[in-house]
């Protein structure tokens, strides 16, 4: 996706590249529409969509800036955010490295097998010796290259006096290789190059699957993240404005905050009035009115006219930074979680090593001589090496996460699935989680013309009501009418001219209704009541959770009357007006009672709770911080994926345990043969591939788990 970014600038200096994340790309039509629509515009040379990452790379003349391009995308009907840097590229590198190692191991394995099969089927004498030498020639570089991920991880573990899955793997591979080289030199009957390389191949397949799964969901989540509030327009003393990154803002600077822009630092309003949307920070759903002198916090979104804000606190001192600090501390407990593969390795590795040592000692005692004893000990090590064990966990988790992605849930990594399987109590935030994020209007009173006018007006505003209106009108396929002279006045509403008639979308007279807007076309008026409806399937999701034995509660930062209404409707125990600290305390209390809480929330104020909970899920509309803190993100308007996540996670753990039994059981069958010194490289190869295939086959059953 960043090819364009790399090779353009030096050759043709007047062209540059800008990348946007466009979460709305859903089908081939979107790709065509964006690429062609942008390419037609003056000054844009080409546009390339990356569908998986939901990104667009635009190659354009330098005279076009981010705002013009963003506007062009919006005119094509897509919400877009410029991508500043690519923090995800580093992890991409890991997947690529594993894939390369896998390809090399696969190449080595196939060629060595070709030679081995000839040896097994009876090649003897010089032919066999030559084939062993050829195998060595292929195997040594292959193992040196493809084994690096395991060797380095094993070294790291040993350096900290611990052991993980990679320690027995590395020892097994290195010993088998060394023994085979020795056998080749002395011209003996068996060489184990094929086993060593095959072991690496299957294990790398597991690792690559694991990395691909993380990469795939990261791309999905990265597409949802915006560059919200990471920079600000600063007015310099001479009156000019410049873009300054959030970490270079200083107290006393004057920020110019455009409509729809998020604040990058805490400050005080100097000039301008209107309202800000604090939903991400506090969970409050109603916009907060502001006037000169009002304090505003980083992360809040300016809804109306441009504001001049004097910076009072930056970076480390802002309200957001306080939440980030809480999150850091809260996340500590989760990083101590030990994944099931490592727990298995802790039991398995000592058992494997002592068995091999016992075999060596036993055969020495019978007087077999060190050479034969060593060959047998290594055969035991190869046979018991956790080849299928390395696949057991990732194969199941990849299939499960693939099934969940199709149902709109992105799970970040395998450890998240393991923790999701253990939860026994669920805590829900209200705004944006149990309810839909934006208020939804009741449009039944409007005819088609009025709807088109309403859309034409509303798409000019960032007010939550306008956005709710735009969403529901776009969904019903209404095309906006062109409106001229649109003006937005904070606290009042939008006015404009439609075919010469004065139209307005404004606050209703009399202020009686709490949540309503009024549409006026000439002399005719309609009142549009707004409500923040529950997600349609909230009831079903909670019932499903209850069926899994999980109790649900509400833990919200919103006012108690708003929370109470939802709690009564759903029949849940609720706690309202909880600060981020309160939420953390509540989670700690539950943990101390021995519960494994699941937190589902979207706001910035939920961030620490999401990081502290045993497992956490955030909706795709959540703040960046929350999505990064959560283990999984669900997309769309349905809440059922939350219940599905737990259900599939539990099913996955069942399959993982079955895989362990199958993998260990299969190898255990071959262990007596190995102990008796009867294992040939052929038996090792068959045992290894059969157990791997069985484990992968068993994992594939999870593909239907999310139905």
């Amino acid at each position: 996706m960043n090819v364009l970014a790399l090779d353009a600038t030096p050759v043709v200096p007047e062209l540059q590249d800008t990348r946007f994340t466009v979460p709305g790309i859903r089908c081939a039509g979107c790709i065509a529409k964006i690429e062609r629509g942008l390419a037609e515009l003056d000054g844009i040379e080409s546009a390339r969509v990356n569908f998986s990452a939901k990104r667009v790379a635009i190659r354009h003349e330098t005279r076009l800036n981010e705002e013009t391009l963003g506007k062009a995308l919006r005119e094509l009907g897509f919400e877009a955010q410029p991508v500043l840097e690519n923090p995800l590229a580093r992890d991409d590198g890991e997947t690529r490295m594993l894939l390369r190692a896998l390809a090399v191991a696969g190449f080595g394995m196939m060629n060595i097998m070709l030679l081995s099969v000839s040896v097994w089927s009876g090649a003897g004498g010089t032919t066999r010796e030559m084939f062993h030498w050829l195998s060595a020639l292929i195997a040594l570089p292959t193992i040196a290259y493809a084994g690096r991920p395991f060797f380095s991880s094993a070294l790291m573990a040993l350096r900290y006096r611990r052991t993980n899955m990679d320690v027995p793997i590395s020892i097994g591979v290195i010993l088998a290789t060394a023994l085979s080289v020795h056998e080749t030199i002395v011209g003996a009957e068996h060489a184990y190059f094929d086993s060593a390389v095959m072991l690496l191949f299957f294990l790398l397949a597991g690792r690559a699957l694991d990395a691909t799964m993380r990469g795939r969901t990261r791309a999905g989540i990265g597409a949802l993240l915006s560059s919200m509030g990471r920079s600000a327009s600063v007015i310099r003393p001479d009156g000019a404005t410049e873009r300054v990154a959030a970490d270079r803002l200083r107290p006393g600077m004057m920020m110019l905050v455009a409509a729809g822009e998020a604040l990058a630092a805490d400050g005080e309003v100097e000039h301008g009035k209107g309202a800000i949307d604090n939903a991400m920070l506090t969970g409050e759903s109603t916009p907060e009115p502001i006037a000169p002198g009002s304090p505003v916090h980083a992360g809040a979104i300016n809804l109306f006219d441009p504001l001049h804000v004097r910076v009072t606190a930056v970076a480390g001192d802002t309200a957001i930074a306080e939440i980030a600090r809480l999150m850091d501390e809260a996340g500590q407990s989760r990083s101590r979680y030990v994944r099931i593969a490592d727990r298995a390795a802790r039991l398995y590795a000592p058992a494997v090593h002592s068995l091999a040592a016992l075999a060596f000692a036993g055969w020495m005692l019978t007087g077999a001589g060190w050479h034969q004893s060593l060959v047998i000990a290594i055969a035991v090590l190869i046979i018991t090496c956790p080849c299928a064990l390395g696949l057991a966990v990732p194969a199941a988790q990849v299939v499960a996460s693939g099934a969940l992605i199709r149902r709109g849930l992105l799970v970040k990594d395998g450890s998240a699935l393991e923790r999701l399987a253990e939860v026994d109590i669920a805590l829900f935030d209200k705004t944006g989680t149990l309810t839909l994020g934006s208020p939804q209007p009741d449009l039944s009173a409007l005819d088609d013309d009025a709807r088109a006018v309403a859309l034409g007006l509303a798409q000019n505003s960032c007010h939550p009501f306008s956005r709710g209106l735009v969403d529901s009108l776009r969904d019903s396929g209404i095309k906006p009418e062109p409106i001229d002279h649109v003006r937005e006045e904070g606290g009042k509403g939008l006015t404009g001219l439609w075919n010469g008639t004065e139209v307005a979308l404004e606050r209703p007279d009399g202020q009686s209704a709490v949540m309503a807007a009024q549409l006026r076309i000439g002399g005719r008026c309609w009142t549009l009541p707004f409500s923040a409806p529950l997600r349609q399937d909230a009831r079903e999701a909670l019932d499903r959770l209850a069926a899994l034995g999980i109790e649900s509660r509400i833990l919200s930062g919103d006012r108690s009357d708003a929370v109470g209404a939802v709690a009564r409707e759903l029949g849940l125990f609720a706690r309202a007006a909880a600060s981020p600290q309160d939420k953390l305390a509540e989670l700690d209390r539950l943990k101390q009672q021995g519960h494994f809480p699941l937190m589902v929330g979207d706001g910035l104020n939920d961030g620490p709770a999401l990081a502290a909970a045993h497992a956490s899920i955030a909706p795709g509309t959540a703040s960046d911080v929350s999505q990064q803190a959560a283990d999984a993100v669900f997309i769309g308007e349905r809440l059922v994926p939350v219940a599905l996540a737990v259900q599939v996670a539990r099913r996955t753990m069942q399959i993982v345990r079955q895989n362990f039994v199958l993998a260990i059981g299969y190898n255990a069958l071959a262990v007596p043969l190995a102990l008796l010194g009867l294992v040939t490289p052929m038996i090792a190869a068959i045992a290894m591939s059969m157990s791997s295939i069985i484990v992968v086959g068993n994992s594939l059953r999870l593909a239907r788990a999310a139905r």
């Binding site: 996706m1 081939a28 790709i31 065509a32 569908f51 390809a103 190449f107 070709l114 032919t127």
Partner: protein
């Protein structure tokens, strides 16, 4: 035996060629956007005229 001196290098060479092709594809971002490639087949080229 003399056949082997031809066949084995040929077999190795073909495997190595496959490996090289894979490395080339990785380096040229052929695996960057698999879902996109699957979707692009549906785009009607004639629209562009």
């Amino acid at each position: 035996m003399s056949l082997l001196t031809f066949l084995i290098p040929i077999a190795l060479g073909m495997g190595a060629a496959g490996l090289a092709a894979f490395f080339w594809a990785m380096r040229n971002d052929q695996f960057e956007d698999l879902d996109g490639a699957a979707n692009r087949i549906l785009i009607d080229e004639e629209d562009e005229v």
